[in-house]
């Protein structure tokens, strides 16, 4: 009876070690289980990457990267050059729109504070959670209804996806800039605006760039909002952002869901291209973060 009450962590101090063997076995079992789950999780990552690489490498080549898809999707050959260009244009527009606005908003949150800042910070976190297809529907309602499907509409939708991410990461980085730096600058008679632009932002720059690159990578992989805004254009290279435009992600989606083997082969090569691009940006962002002059303690 007493033994039972004392079981658990306290029991060992009684000197009796009741159930010590069972406890040791439980410990071993749980240890093994957690390790197994960890391995399985990394295994899934390896599985996805290896599968995409295996399928993608079958077709990925110079032809894929320099040509547009054949007019008839069942035909073999061709590539996603128009989609790659479209991705660069739409994500580029998104970056140009979202980064200045996002950085400015973050400056307000950190450097000025107050009620508006608190509300904005909370709502930024909420905005991150808004499904991107809903963002696409918003841009459809305010832009596409008036001006039609276009690369610009796609860029605006992606900008709205990037905006809260840029605000959040910039916010974090600015808060890591030591107070002393600001005070030293202000004490020299430099105005607050100049202090922020000349002292605070450059100090946090590599961290901010990291955040922007991660947001960029995220936007590049988005498909859902583009379906409702850029629409896609599988036939030719479109450089005019006021026209409907294809992106890499849209072309992967469009070609993957056809039943044609040739189209799926192109889609796999596209998927591999997209994964490589996204991972390059993600890893590069991490490396820049590591060399940052201000850093998160860990």
């Amino acid at each position: 009876m007493l033994d039972q009450q004392l079981e658990g962590p306290l029991s060992s101090v009684t000197g009796q070690f009741p159930g010590a063997r069972r406890r040791e076995l439980t410990n071993l079992f749980m240890h093994g289980l957690l390790l197994l789950v960890m391995i399985a999780t990394v295994g899934v990552l390896v599985w996805v990457l290896a599968y995409v690489a295996g399928q993608g490498l079958k077709y990925l080549g110079p032809e894929f990267l320099t040509q547009t898809p054949p007019g008839n999707p069942s035909e073999p050959g061709g590539g996603f050059l128009n989609g790659i260009i479209g991705s660069v244009i739409t994500t580029g527009i998104a970056t140009v729109l979202s980064v200045p606005a996002g950085a400015a908003a973050a400056i307000y949150l950190v450097e000025y504070g107050g009620r508006l800042a608190r509300v904005t910070r909370f709502l930024t976190d909420i905005l991150v959670g808004v499904p991107t297809i809903v963002t696409g529907a918003l841009v459809y309602a305010v832009w596409v209804v008036l001006f039609g499907f276009s690369g610009i509409a796609g860029g605006i939708a992606l900008a709205l996806v990037m905006l809260p991410l840029v605000i959040r990461s910039t916010d974090e980085m600015l808060r890591l800039v030591p107070r002393d730096l600001r005070e030293a600058s202000l004490a020299l008679g430099v105005t607050k605006a100049r202090t922020i632009l000349v002292i605070v932002l450059p100090t946090a720059s590599s961290g901010i760039i990291t955040g922007v690159m991660l947001a960029f990578a995220r936007a590049m992989g988005e498909t859902a909002p583009l379906l409702l805004t850029a629409l896609g254009n599988d036939l030719f290279i479109e450089l005019n952002p006021t026209k409907r435009m294809s992106t890499l992600s849209l072309q992967i989606f469009g070609n993957a869901i056809t039943g044609f083997k040739a189209a799926q082969a192109r889609a796999w090569a596209g998927a591999l291209t997209l994964v490589v691009l996204v991972l390059l940006f993600t890893v590069a962002a991490r490396l820049i973060a590591r060399r940052s002059s201000v850093s998160r303690g860990g």
Binding site: V13, L45, V48, T124, A217, T223, A224, I252, R296
Partner: protein
Amino acid sequence: MTAQTLLAPTDRRSSAGRFSDQLFRRLMAGAALTVIVVLIATTVFLLQQSWPSLTHYGPLSFFHARWAPSEATVTSSKPNPYGILQFIYGTLMTSLVAMLIAVPVSIAVALYITNLSPKRLRGPLSSLVDLLAAIPSVVYGFWGVFALIPALGPIGNGLTSLSGFPVIGWLFQGPFFGYSIFSAGVVLAIMCLPIVTAICREVFDTAPVAEKEAALAIGATKWEMLRVAVLPRSRSGIIGASILGLGRAFGETIAVTMLIGNNVLTIPKGLLRTGATLPSVIANEFTEANQPFHLESLFVVAFGLLVVSLLVNFVGKRIVGRVSAHIA
């Protein structure tokens, strides 16, 4: 005198400085306001676009389980051909499957990384799990169709043998052909895993070292230490993490669209059949919506999705507090 001459130019400069300072401040405040404007605009414009359909059919008439745009006509408003109950069901069920898998796995992974793994592996292991979040949705969907569904075949068929049980048997009615709520849920689990793990990791990291050492000092095994010193105080953090993961699962579009089979006609019988979710029907039909009130009804779906995701994220954020920036 000297003081005066020194002060005068400084004064003038500082007033000019004050003016540009004010302008700068206003600009920054304007940028901060865009966040609020975007959220309000999303609500207003989605409501505005769905308004014709909402007023034509009446908001409550959408709560039935048959979506048949081809039966819509310009004049008749009864019955409403745009029932969305099956999409709500599909969204809930795919997310439920995802959470049932992702939450225990995330807890295990986060516990392993924070407390059991060798110190030098902690960083690399965290980065690897985070990489799962970097892979685009469309790639997960494509991989899911060709690699995951074949692998899930035996599991799905095994689950159909549970269909004999009362109550839960309904969920596991066969046959299992691959495209299903279950398959979509498994991919969703993989996609939600990084965010839930990342939050759990931060939560577990806040467990006081003193209590962990105390537990070990009185002879607790490592697992007992986790059970008495780490897990109990992490409960609300885990719940918050799960809710945020749920928010992610609700809104995920493309991968689910590729895997769920897009059956919009009725509530599917169980988890192993084809279905549809709120986002998947929008992605599927939006650009081809040509029936009366079709597009407007898709906006009703989008508005519903927005409201749900705002609620879920609001509650999740309240519980978790602030989550750091690298958890996108």
